[in-house]
Assembly symmetry: C2
Homo-oligomer: 297 residues x 2
């Protein structure tokens, strides 16, 4: 798994560097309690306002609090607090408000020595967060992920799609963070090899799910008002990540590398008091879909 996420990080970063026409900054870091990672961040490029692609391979002993926010291994309770976790996590925030933000994450988790039932599992997913709705993009993104799921018996697209809608939900706003995609956790219902194959296939399909959308939207015209709306949507992104995201909570409570964890936050964001888009506007059209998630495929 660790080999795979490093390899996929290389593939994805090479492609993004071509687009962005800029070198990424790389930081190789170590975690005092065990393990470390490799963060790569794009900024001031042609296409991305901020984009990060992180690998981490960490191990050690969980606090009971961190064990709770891990989102897996429910069967273990307070036993086996020793853990090993590795994953690839990326968040890309394009400059152009017509081009959607995307997030993806592929991870493997082990507690104790990984031999007890329920002591290892895979998780992951990918989801799309536009400021403006282009239905063809939503369909394309979901279709690629459905195709991946359909190739693996351990995967269940309708379930993972629903899980994504449920997970990336900003409860206090009554709206989804974005248009969803797939989300899965506690994947261990087949052999480790079969589970791994599915997660690897997801990771290798990321570029084909997102790059065509980026190419179509990254040079579209936009107004300053549309840029403001993007900034407001980025504020919602911040709200979700800091209030609800388990990965963020987990990182903040396990002495993770803060700059790598919060790399997911946008470069800039905006909170206008009582902002409400005009009825019938493009902005209000997006909100409708965020309040009523759709089946895109």
């Amino acid at each position: 798994m660790a080999d795979m996420v490093y390899r996929v990080q290389d593939i994805i970063c090479q492609k993004l560097a071509e687009f962005d026409d800029v070198e990424y900054r790389e930081d190789i870091w170590e975690r005092e309690e065990g393990g470390g990672g490799r963060s790569r961040v794009f900024s001031d490029g042609k296409v991305f306002e901020k984009a990060g692609v992180n690998v981490s391979v960490v191990y050690g002993t969980l606090s009971p609090q961190a064990a709770k926010s891990m989102g897996g291994g429910h069967v273990l309770g307070d036993e086996d607090l020793d853990f090993y976790a590795t994953g690839l996590s990326l968040v890309l925030h394009p400059k152009n408000p017509m081009a959607p933000t995307v997030h993806a994450n592929y991870r493997y988790f082990e507690r104790g020595d990984g031999t007890k039932p329920g002591s290892w599992w895979f998780g992951g997913g990918a989801d799309l967060t536009p400021s403006y709705l282009f239905e063809e993009d939503a369909i394309h993104f979901h279709q690629v992920h459905k195709d991946v799921c359909d190739r693996h018996e351990v995967a269940d697209f309708p379930k993972f799609k629903q899980w994504c809608d449920d997970y990336f939900y900003i409860k206090h706003r009554g709206e989804s963070r974005g248009l969803g995609g797939i989300f899965f956790d506690n994947i261990n219902q087949a052999s480790q090899d079969e589970c791994f194959d599915f997660v690897e296939d997801c990771a290798l399909s990321f570029l084909s799910s997102y790059i065509p959308i980026l190419e179509r939207t990254m040079n579209l015209d936009y107004t300053p008002e549309q840029k403001d709306w993007q900034q407001i949507r980025r504020g919602r992104y911040v709200e979700f990540n800091l209030v609800y995201d388990r990965g963020t909570t987990f990182g903040l409570t396990t002495n993770g590398r803060i700059e790598s964890i919060l790399m997911s936050l946008p470069l800039t964001s905006r909170w206008e008091y009582c902002h409400s888009p005009q009825e019938g506007s493009l902005e209000s059209e997006l909100l409708q879909v965020l309040k009523n998630p759709k089946d895109w495929v």
Copy 2:
């Protein structure tokens, strides 16, 4: 208490309106489960990027989760989930990066019928969050609050100052949100009248603690780089409020009015990957104090 916070809201808003040369927007709102409030927000004025002064008077039945995040009435446990809460809460974010953000909050809480020991208490405080350090401002702000505490037997400035430093601490950054001030909770060690007098004195002293600082700094010259630093500090403000602030958590889990709760967030904020100010710079001087809170008076 409800009368007092409405009255002080009027006094403060009148003064801010003079400064900002703009009318505030007022929203009177009701909470489905009981009570409501009056929010006043300044935007697009001369001085403030965003400033809100809120009153809320809410009551109903707490969820056990909300009861836990209330930060008081520890003696009650899961009993007496009926509650009554009223308070004034304000956050002022000036445009000029030399002028500090300020927050203040004065509140009263009751559980059950308020007759059991520990079933009512006052809380509150005020704290200053500059992007640039002016020692004279830090001293003035703390001195005013020390003077208020010294006038009331129920108050203990050194304790409340320390409480403020401990509370407004961004654990994952290892730094304070700002320069502190006072923070207190569970105040019920004297009669209700004595406790109320102290909290009212705090509320009535707010303007004298902040306005002289604002007057001195709001028209100082600044560079675009200094504005960027202010935006980065605002990012930290967002991190504290969404990750740690109990008032925010309480509001988000009790179906509070979201726009009033999140009014505390700045208009705009910024997250640069691995931003680190130059050694010896003004920015680094501020960080030093945030990492090592000082006694200002």
